[in-house]
Symmetry: C5
Subunit: 312 residues, 5 copies
C-alpha cells in the first residue's frame, strides 16, 4: 500500500511509483504510434480522404464502454475493500481471542503453569495471521518464520500440512479442549472461544475466495475487445476535425481506458505485494504488538514502516 | 471456470474458448448481413435516399440501453458472486464442522470406537458438498459416487430421497443425537454443532434460490426488444455519414450489445458447467483434502487440475 | 413466475404473455397517435414550420431520465430479490425447524406419543408458509386450507386471529413450552428452537414491509411527469430531421420509457400473482414435500407444475 | 405516507398533494421568470446577439449533474428504506418479545399474579414504539399518552428521563431481573430475552443515526451551486435554437433538477410527518393490535386509516 | 459536522464555511487564469487560429470522467456512512453494556459495594468512546481527560499502553472476571457481556480500518490526471464557439470537477475535525449523558452545542 500523508494534489498528478503506467506503457505506446502513423499518412498522402469515419459511433459506443468500465472499477474495488475488511476482522478476532484467553481460561488463578498455557495459546493466535499471509502470497517457504510463535514439535507438524492456517486453528481447539478437560474453562465459555475460532476459519475462507476467483473470463475478454477496438479505431473518427492533435487526443483517451482496466487488474487481487495491494505484513505486525502487550511483554516490536513510501 | 495465470492482455483479446461468441454468432451474423445488404442497396440503388434516419434517436435511446445493460451485468455478476460466496461459506462450514467434531465430540477420549464415530461424522460432512453439487448440476444419477463417504445402508436411504443434501444434514443430526445421548457431547456444544448444520441448510437454500429464480421474464423481454430494434435500425441511422464503413460499425456495436446480454445469461446461473461457471467439483475436492488431512489420513487426493484451461 | 427453459433469444423478442405490453398499450397508443397526427399535420399543412424545438433539450434531459429510470429498475429489482431471499430463508428455516424438532425434542425416545408430538409440531411449521402466503396475497378466505395441517381446535382459533402467521408461531412456542415442562427439551436447545421461531417472525415482518411500503409517492409523480412530458414533446424535437419516420421513433422510445416504468410497477410488489411475481404456492409445496419426507411419510405431493408456462 | 391503491398512471401525473411542487415552486417561478425576461429581451432588443453561449457546456456538465443527482436520490432512498427496515425490525422484535414473555417467563404456570406480570411486561413493550416515535418526531410533550401502557409510577419516572425509549428498555430489564430472581426464568432464556432488548436498543440507535446525521453539508452546497448555475445559465445556451420555446424548456429542465433535489430533501429524513414520510403512528398501532391479541384481549383498536390519502 | 436546521435553499448556495472552496481555490484560480490568458491571446493575437480542438474529445472522455467521479463520491460517502454507523453501534453497545451491568451483575442485591462495582464498570464503558476518539483523531496527549472515568492506577496503566481502547476493554473483562469469581454473574450472562465487549473491539477495528486505509493510490493518480488534463485542455475545445465566455465556462466546469474530487477527500476520512467530519465529541457526550442517567446521577452534562454552526 502506498502511504500518503497530506501530499499536495500535484503530487498525485506527477507520481511515478504505484501508478498503472508500468502496466500499460507498452500497449499505450503501440496505440499512440499507430495513431501517429495514421495522422502523418493522412496529412501527407491523404490516406483517409473520403474514407474517415464520423465520430458518431464513438459517442454511441461510449455509453456501453463507460458502463462497463464503471462496473470494472466498482467490482475491483469491492474485492479490494472486502479483502481489507476481512483483515480488519482478523485484527479484531485476534484481539478478542487474546482477551477471552486471558479472562475466560482459568482466569483469576495465579498459577504460573496456567499463565504459560495462556501464553502458548495467544502465541498460536499470533501465528495465524502470518500463516494466512504466507498462504495468500504464496510465501509458503517462509514457514520457518513461524518458529517464533510455535513449539518445535508444532512447527514440524505444520511443515507437513497443506493448509497451515487451518491446522493452527485445529491446534488452538485442541489446546482449548485440554484446558476444558482440566476444568479450566466453563463449557459455555468454551462455546464462546470456539465461535472466535470459527471466525478465523471464515476469514481464511473469505480471503481464499477472493484470491482464487477471478472476474469471469468472458467479462475480461469482452471488455478488452471493446476497449481495444475503440482505441485503435479512434484516429479514423477524429482525424478530420482534429488533424495534428489526433495523437494527443488518442493518448489521453487510451491512457484513461487502458489505465482504468489495468487499475482493475491491480486492485482486484489485493493480497499480492504490488504497490497498491494491502499491507498484510504491517497488519500482522499490528496484531503481534497488540497481543504481546496484552500478555504483559515489555519488549514490543516496532510498527512496520513504509519502505520507499510503500507499506508491504 | 477459465483459469488465467498472468496471461498477457492480448491473450484476452484473441481468446476463443470461454468467450460469448459461441452464444451470439448466429444473431450477430444475421444482423451484420442485414446491414451489409442495406449498405450495398443504398450505395448501388440509393434505397435510402432521402429516407434515412438521423443518428439522433440512437443517442437518445443510448442512455436507456446503457442503463439497462449496466443493470443486466451488475445483477448477473451479483448472482455469480453470491453463488461463489455461498460455496466459500460451504468450505468454511465444513472445516468448522470437522474441527468441532474432533474437539467437542467425546474429545480427549482415546477410544478407537469414538475415533471411528468422529470419522463417520466427518465423512458425512465430506459427502454434503458432493450431494449439493449433484443437485445443482442435475447430476443426480451420480449418487453412487457418494459411496466413498457413507455406509451402504445410508447410501440406500439416500437413493430414496428427493432432497439428498437435506437428508445428509438430517443424518448428521441423528449421529450427533446418538453421541449426545451417550453423553459424549455437552448440551451447549450440541447447540454449536447444530448451528453449523443450520449453516449447511442455509447454504443449500441460498444455492437453490439462485439456481431456480431467473431474472424476471419481463426484464429480459424488454431488454432484448430494445437491443434488437436498436441493432437492426442502426444502419438507417449511420448509412449517410459512414457509407461503406456501416457494416463494420454495426458489427462492433452489435457485438458489444449482444455480447453483454449473452454474458449476463452465462454468468447469472453460476452452478452449471459452462466455461465461465463456478468450479464446484474443484471446491468439493478442496474440502475433501482439508477434511481428510484433519482426520490424519496419509493418502490425500490431488487438488483438481484445470482441463484445457477450465476448472470444472 | 414465468418459467423459461433454454428458450431461444427470439422467443423473448416475440413473447406475448408476461410482458409489460398489457400494462402500457393504452398510453403507448395514445402517445403514438399524437405523434402521428402531429407528423401528418406538419407534412401536410406545415404546422410546425419555424416552430419546432431542436433535439437539444432531449439530450440534456436524457441524462436525468436515464438515471431516474436506472434508479427505478434497481430499487424494484432489489425489492423483488429481497422478497425472494426472504422466501428462501423461509424454506431454510422450515427445514431447520423440522431437523431440530426431530433431533432435539425428546430425541432418541421411541415413544409413539412423542413421535406424534413431533409430527404435530412439524405440521404447524408446514402451515406457516401457507398462512403467510394467504396474508400476503389477500387470500385470507382460503384459511380452511390450513385444516390439513392443524387440529380443528387450532383452526377455529386461527379463524379469530387477525395475524394468523404470528398466531401459528405462538402456537409452536406453546407446544415447545409443553414439551419443555415435560422435560423433553434441554433449556439450551429450547433457546435454539426459539431462535428459529424468531427467524420465522423476522421473515414475516420482512415480507410485510415490502408488501406495505410503496416507492415514495413523490418519486413516482416526478418520474411519470418527466417521462410523460418527454414522450409527448418528442415529436416537436425530431419532426424536422426525421419526417415520416417520427411516429416509429416515438413508438420505440416511448415503449422503452413506459415499459421500464411499468416493469418497475410489476416487479416491486413481488408477492402478487402477476406473471412476473414470485411463485409462493410452488415454494409452499416445496417446503411441504421436504418436511413430509423428513417425517417419513410415504405419500408425497408432486412439486408444483407451471400452468401455461407460469408458476404461481 | 401517501397510500396508493391501483390508481391509474394519470393519477400520478396530475396529483397535487404529496408532490415536491410545494417545496420548489418559488425557486422554479423565479428561474422561469428569469428565462422569460431573457427570451423577451432577446427577441425584442436582441440582447444576446452574438453573445449567446452554445449548448456545448450544458452537455459536458450534464454528465456530472446526472451522476450527482443519481447519487442524491440513491442515498436519500437508502436512508428512507433503512428507516423503514428498522421499524420493520421493531415490529418483529416486539412480536418476538411478546412470544418470549408468554412462553419463557414462568410459562405453564396458571398463576394470575404471573399472568399479570407477563401482561405488564408486554405493555412495556407496546410503550416502546410510541416512545421512540415521540423522540424521533420531537413530540416529547405527548409523553402522557404512554399512560395507557405504564403504571403511574413508571410514567413519573419516564417524565424525568432525557432518553425515554432507553429508560423503557431498562425498565423491562429490571422486570425480567425480578422474575429471574423469583426463579421464573431459566438463566439461558434470560439471555434470549436480553438479546431481544439489545435489538430494541440497536433499532433506537439506528433511527437516531438517520435522524441526526444529514448528508454532508459540502455535498449539498456543491450540488445546489451546480444545479443553480445550470438552470440560470440555460437560457443563454438554448435561446438561439429555441427562441420562444426557451421558457418552456427551462421550466421542464429546472422542474426536473430542482424536483429531484427537493425529493432527496423530503425522503432523506423519513421520520417526520411530511406526506412522503414513514407512517410511524400506523406502525405503532399495528404493533399494539398484534400484542394485545397475543395477550388474549378482546377489544382491539382498529388499524390506522389514511387521512386524505395519507397515513401518518 | 455542519449543523443545518431548515435553512433555505439559498443558504446552501451562498455558504462560505464548510464548503470545498477552501481546498481548491488555488488550483481553481490557476486553471481559470490559464483559460483567461488563452482566451485573451486568442481574441487578440489569434493564437489558436486553425489550431483549436473540437469539443468532440471532451464529450467522449466525459463518460469516463463522470463514471470515475461517481465512483469517487460513492466510495467516499460509503466510508463516511460506515464510520457513522460504527459510532452509532458504539452508542448502542455502550447503552446495552450499561443495561447488562445494571441487571445481570449481582442484580437485585442492594449491597453498596456492589453498586460501586457496577458504577466502576459503567465508568469504564464511558471512557471507551473518549479513548477511541483520541486514537482516531491523534489526540493521544489528551489521555489525562480519561481521569474522570478511571481510577488513578488505571490511568497510569493506560499511559503505558499503545492501544488504549483495547486496554480498556481488557480492563472491563478483568472486572467482569472478578465479579464472576465472586459468583455475582451467571456463566451464561458472562458470555452475553463478553459478546458486548467483542462488539466494542469490532467497532474499534472498523474505525481503524477506515482511518488507515486510503482509496488505492493508483485510483487517485489516474483520476487526478484525467481531471487535470481535462480542465486545462478545455479552453482549446470551447474557444471558437464560446469566445469571451470561455473562462466562465471553464470556471463552472473545473469548480464542479475539482470540487467533487476535494469533497471525496474531505469525506473519506470522517474521523478528523474538518467541518464535514463526524461529531465524535458530541457522540461521546451523548453516551456519557445516557449512561450517567442510567446510574441515577442527578448532575448530567449538557449535550454538546454547535460552535459557529459546527458540531465537533
Amino acid at each position: 500500500m502506498i502511504v500518503t500523508n497530506g501530499e499536495s494534489w500535484l503530487h498525485f498528478v506527477f507520481a511515478a511509483r504505484g501508478t498503472t503506467l508500468a502496466r500499460i506503457w507498452r500497449r499505450l505506446t503501440l496505440n499512440v504510434s499507430f495513431a501517429l502513423v495514421m495522422t502523418l499518412g493522412h496529412m501527407t498522402y491523404g490516406w483517409l480522404d473520403g474514407r474517415d469515419v464520423t465520430p458518431l459511433p464513438f459517442t454511441l459506443i461510449g455509453f456501453v464502454l463507460g458502463i462497463f468500465l464503471g462496473f470494472r472499477i466498482n467490482t475491483a474495488y469491492d474485492r479490494y475493500w472486502e479483502g481489507r475488511r476481512l483483515w480488519g476482522q482478523l485484527v479484531n478476532t485476534c484481539r478478542t481471542l487474546a482477551r477471552q484467553t486471558q479472562t475466560l481460561v482459568g482466569a483469576g488463578l495465579g498459577d504460573a503453569a496456567l499463565a504459560e498455557r495462556r501464553r502458548r495459546l495467544v502465541y498460536l493466535v499470533m501465528a495465524f495471521p502470518h500463516a494466512l499471509r504466507m498462504r495468500l502470497r504464496g510465501e509458503e517457504a517462509m514457514v520457518g518464520d513461524l518458529a517464533a510463535f510455535v513449539t518445535p514439535t508444532e512447527l514440524e507438524q505444520l511443515m507437513g500440512e497443506r493448509n497451515r492456517p487451518n491446522a493452527l486453528v485445529q491446534r488452538m481447539a485442541e489446546q482449548l479442549d485440554e484446558a476444558y478437560r482440566a476444568e479450566l474453562i466453563h463449557p459455555m465459555h468454551l462455546s464462546l472461544l470456539h465461535q472466535s475460532l470459527t471466525a478465523l476459519t471464515d476469514i481464511q475462507g473469505g480471503c481464499e475466495r477472493i484470491a482464487n476467483t477471478p472476474i469471469p473470463f468472458a467479462y475480461q475478454v469482452l471488455l478488452r475487445r471493446i476497449v481495444g477496438s475503440y482505441c485503435y479505431a479512434l484516429p479514423f473518427g477524429v482525424l478530420s476535425p482534429l488533424g495534428l492533435m489526433t495523437p494527443v487526443v488518442v493518448l489521453m483517451m487510451s491512457y484513461a481506458f487502458y489505465g482504468l482496466d489495468a487499475l482493475g487488474d491491480e486492485i482486484q487481487d489485493p493480497f499480492g505485494s504490488d504497490p497498491n495491494d494491502l499491507p498484510l505484513s504491517a497488519l500482522c505486525r499490528t496484531i503481534e504488538i497488540d497481543l504481546r502487550q496484552r500478555l504483559g511483554e515489555a519488549e514490543l516490536p516496532e510498527p512496520a514502516q513504509p519502505h520507499h513510501g510503500q507499506l508491504l
